[in-house]
């Protein structure tokens, strides 16, 4: 009898799964979260969108106990809850799937799942229990993973499932996913969304942090928009549109499409012939890749990260060595052996905006004037007498580049890591584009870049194309490939899986190619 009334009482007022009340958090002078209140209903999929640095990750980190809020409180299922570390979060039924997976690479799936949740001094009983439970979870949520597979042998899509399984194994009722589709093929992303809908049906609550507006529209029930540490809008997904969300994120109307004229394609500038790369472990990263790059075109290379695109860029730019094959520039062969030097590539008219601007494109503790000459620092204009650097000119040059590329604040002595992602990328772009190269290699041009800057960066790439230059674009963002490319190559497992013209293809077809399936061969 008493049990019934208790249940009835709980059903009467279904408390929201998550309630954040007046959360504020400052890092020094930066107010990362300003008085944020948010409610997520039980059993809902809730999206949080916002540009980089808008405070999404900080907010979720507070919920997961990584940061302590300066002000405000948290209620889970209606009960005030203090979460001061991840143990508290797990105890409160919160699980988090980080953007960068927290898995032990050389452990099996099973070992990763029980890691930190072992019971007893020996692992036998934990293993048996986990194996049984994984089986049940797999059946229930389409979360099939071989429990004995080693993490480094399985794809990122499966690794992500392991992260979800880890959370569910720890009895998570609330699941937070930070940029979950960044590393997935469209197909894998669809599967993820099916899993999420299943979880929702079972009454789990899901929060997704993303910058992809289409995903928000596809999968969420409600969405919150953050801008500069504030929550500007929370709305039912059905009543909004991508354009409205983008405007709420940036604070102004944004062009989501790229504005470009048809390409005027000229003669071949660069030719890649039969290029192969085998890494030090003997793994073939690039298998007999051939392609031609012409003046005035943007050649887009689509593919999930890790399918050979990085190696292709590295060989052409003189960073990595090819095992066999050759690269011709204006019909002349260039050195692709391990003796290749990236500075000589630049003399050949090849500029490179690398995929990883933090590790490669910029020296983060360097000042802007040091970064705007990086790689060109031995060019005569930057060189003074006796091996000294011409700092006066480097400063002036940096200031000019900052003004022309709208890099703010215009302080050439500011260190790179003080700039936002978009401004950092513009520093690299300014340096490489202003060299007026014949070929621009550009990897992930807008990764971690805010929407406002994306518009600018895309425009710069298109302008360079219109000036008759050849551009090789590598991106894992299919939208970006489709929007910018004049021709698309899809890479899978080190080979070029197919070539398509953007006007004759669609996301479904490209997605299949990215997964290694040839749709034409199938039909």
């Amino acid at each position: 009898m008493s049990e019934v009334t208790e249940n009835a009482g709980r059903l009467d007022a279904v408390a929201p799964a998550i309630e954040l009340i007046g959360i504020s958090k400052a890092f020094g002078p930066v107010q990362a979260n300003k008085d944020i209140s948010m409610t997520v209903a039980k059993g809902a999929i809730h999206g949080i969108v916002g540009e980089n640095g808008a405070g999404k990750s900080t907010l979720m980190s507070i919920l997961y106990g990584f940061y302590k809020a300066d002000k405000g409180s948290v209620k889970i299922d209606g009960a005030p809850t203090v979460i001061s570390d991840s143990h508290d979060a797990i105890a409160a039924g919160i699980g988090m799937v980080h953007q960068h997976f927290m898995l032990v690479e050389n452990f099996t799936v099973l070992e990763n799942v029980i890691l930190g949740a072992e019971d007893g001094a020996t692992l036998g009983s934990s293993r048996r229990r986990a194996r049984k439970e994984l089986k049940e979870l797999a059946d229930e949520y389409e979360l099939d993973v071989n429990p004995d597979a080693v993490i480094e042998d399985i794809s990122v899509g499966f690794q992500q499932r392991v992260e979800i399984l880890k959370a569910l194994y720890r009895q998570a009722e609330i699941l937070i996913l930070d940029e979950p589709t960044g590393v997935l093929t469209p197909d894998e992303a669809d599967h993820l969304f099916r899993i999420l809908r299943n979880l929702k049906e079972q009454g789990k609550t899901i929060v997704i942090i993303t910058h992809k507006l289409r995903e928000i529209m596809d999968v969420t029930d409600s969405v919150s928009v953050m801008r500069r540490g504030e929550m500007t809008k929370t709305i039912a997904t059905a009543t909004t549109s991508p354009e409205d969300l983008a405007e709420a994120m940036v604070g102004r109307r944004v062009l989501l499409e790229v504005d470009k004229k048809p390409a005027v394609v000229g003669e071949t500038v660069m030719e890649v012939r039969d290029l192969s790369v085998t890494d030090i472990h003997g793994v073939k990263k690039l298998k007999h890749v051939s392609l031609e790059l012409k003046r005035g075109e943007i050649l887009g290379i689509a593919g999930v990260a890790g399918n050979g695109q990085s190696e292709l860029l590295e060989v052409i730019s003189g960073i990595g060595a090819a095992t066999s094959g050759e690269v011709l520039m204006h019909g002349e062969s260039i050195d692709v052996s391990k003796h290749a030097n990236a500075q000589l590539r630049r003399h050949r008219g090849i500029s490179h905006v690398p995929e990883d601007r933090h590790q490669r494109g910029l020296v983060m503790p360097f000042m802007t004037w040091e970064n705007t000459a990086f790689g060109y620092h031995n060019e005569p204009e930057y060189s003074g007498k006796f091996g000294l650097a011409n700092q006066k000119y480097m400063l002036e040059d940096a200031r000019g580049k900052m003004e022309r590329f709208d890099i703010r604040p215009v302080i050439p002595t500011l260190v790179a890591h003080h700039f936002s992602g978009g401004n950092q990328q513009k520093i690299v772009l300014a340096r490489e584009i202003e060299r007026n190269p014949d070929v621009l290699l550009i990897g992930q041009p807008t990764r971690g870049v805010d929407i406002g800057a994306i518009e600018f960066i895309h425009q710069q790439i298109v302008n360079l194309r219109d000036a008759g230059k050849a551009i090789l674009l590598v991106s894992v963002e299919l939208d970006e490939i489709q929007a910018l490319s004049d021709r698309i190559l899809v890479m899978f497992d080190g080979v070029i899986q197919g070539e398509r013209m953007p006007e004759d293809t669609n996301e479904g077809e490209l997605g299949l190619l990215m997964a290694g399936v040839d749709p034409e061969a199938q039909s």
Binding site: A26, S61, F66, D356, G361, V363, H418
Partner: protein, 364 residues
């Protein structure tokens, strides 16, 4: 995370506070052997700065400037050269060989020759670990430690064998008179200033100051220094920019070894005027502490070297005046190294909280 702290906190307050902590703990240690810490400090300061002591303090400072700069230069290229001890030892052999081979007409020629020999031998001793690191990936920390041991053995062998002077002492013959470097007494005498006649500090002190200036220019004003710093921050970025890791590793270590080696000009040529056993006296290791405390900046290195010079000389005085064992001063030096080197975060994190008001608990 030091990127956001004001410069005066990062470069001034933190070293001072860590130093203060080190001294506070040292005070407790001193009290535990029944001595009055205030008296100990008085004796040390007095011992280091009295007219006799200062000549020794500056002599030790000279050594530490060279070895400190050596560690600092390598550190900018993220190479941890802890082989200063061996490089300086072998440089001593180089200085000895050249000094004994010619009857030097004038000290100026001998200084240039001694410096070149010291640099060449020090650099050569650093070149082998550098090459092994650059080509084979053998960790430079391990190889330089091993090379310290080998150097000690080599010097020991030479001093009881080929280089031994007549007699039973393990030391080389005395250098010709023309090789003797002017002491600070001689130099200041020219401008009419009285300085202790027996103080070992010599013209190498000025050589050390010049070396500090040149290191500053190298690191912050030249393209080579720029490439070294880029490589030190990110090897991947360096490769992207066309900077050869092999070249930078070699060049940085050669410069570092040469700087360590220059210490031999001070000790072997300037002071002993012969090669004796244990001429380096641990200065190679103190150089690591000096570079850490000086944050790999030449000005910081100068200040830290002076501090360690004071400690060394003041410590000797402690032994003399109060009968405190020499090991005690080693304990104090060790405490300073520990606090400035590895316990810095104990001071840094609270200061960051105060200045930046962060309550960071982990990585996001």
């Amino acid at each position: 995370m030091n990127k956001n702290l004001p410069k005066w906190v990062d470069l001034g307050l933190i070293p001072l506070l860590t130093l203060f902590l080190a001294f506070a703990v040292s005070g407790l240690v001193v009290m535990s052997i029944g001595q009055n810490p205030i008296e100990v400090v008085r004796v040390m300061i007095q011992g280091a700065f009295n007219p006799f002591g200062i000549g020794h303090t500056l002599y030790f400072t000279t050594n530490f400037i060279f070895t400190g700069l050596a560690v600092a230069v390598a550190f900018h290229a993220r190479l941890f050269n802890i082989g200063g001890e061996g490089q300086a030892g072998i440089a001593g052999v180089g200085v000895t060989l050249i000094m004994l081979s010619v009857d030097w007409p004038h000290w100026t020629v001998a200084l240039v020759a001694g410096t070149v020999a010291a640099m060449a031998f020090g650099a050569a001793w650093a070149a082998i670990p550098a090459y092994l690191q650059a080509k084979r990936g053998s960790h430079i920390v391990i190889t330089t430690i091993m090379f310290n041991l080998i150097a000690t053995a080599v010097v020991g062998y030479l001093l009881v064998g080929p280089l031994q002077a007549e007699g039973s002492l393990p030391e080389s013959p005395k250098f010709p008179d023309g090789a003797a470097l002017p002491t600070l007494h001689d130099i200041l005498g020219v401008v009419g200033i009285e300085f202790d006649r027996f103080a070992p500090v010599n013209i190498s002190f000025f050589l050390a100051l010049i070396a500090a200036l040149l290191v500053w220019i190298l690191i912050w004003k030249t393209r080579l220094g720029y490439e070294m710093r880029a490589f030190g921050h990110s090897e991947r970025a360096a490769v992207y920019a066309g900077i050869s890791p092999m070249k930078i590793t070699m060049v940085a270590m050669l410069i570092s070894g040469a700087l360590s080696g220059m210490m031999a000009v001070n000790t072997v040529q300037g002071e002993a005027e012969r090669l004796v056993l244990g001429a380096v006296e641990g200065a190679g290791f103190i150089g690591i502490a000096v570079a850490l405390m000086g944050r790999s900046h030449p000005v910081g290195v100068l200040l830290a070297a002076f501090l360690f010079g004071i400690l060394t000389q003041g410590g000797a005085e402690l032994q003399f005046a109060l009968g405190i064992p020499a090991q005690m001063i080693t304990v104090i030096q060790a405490l300073i190294i520990m606090f400035t080197g590895s316990l810095e975060n104990m001071v840094r994190i609270p200061l960051e909280k105060i200045f930046l008001n962060t309550g960071k608990r982990g990585q996001a």
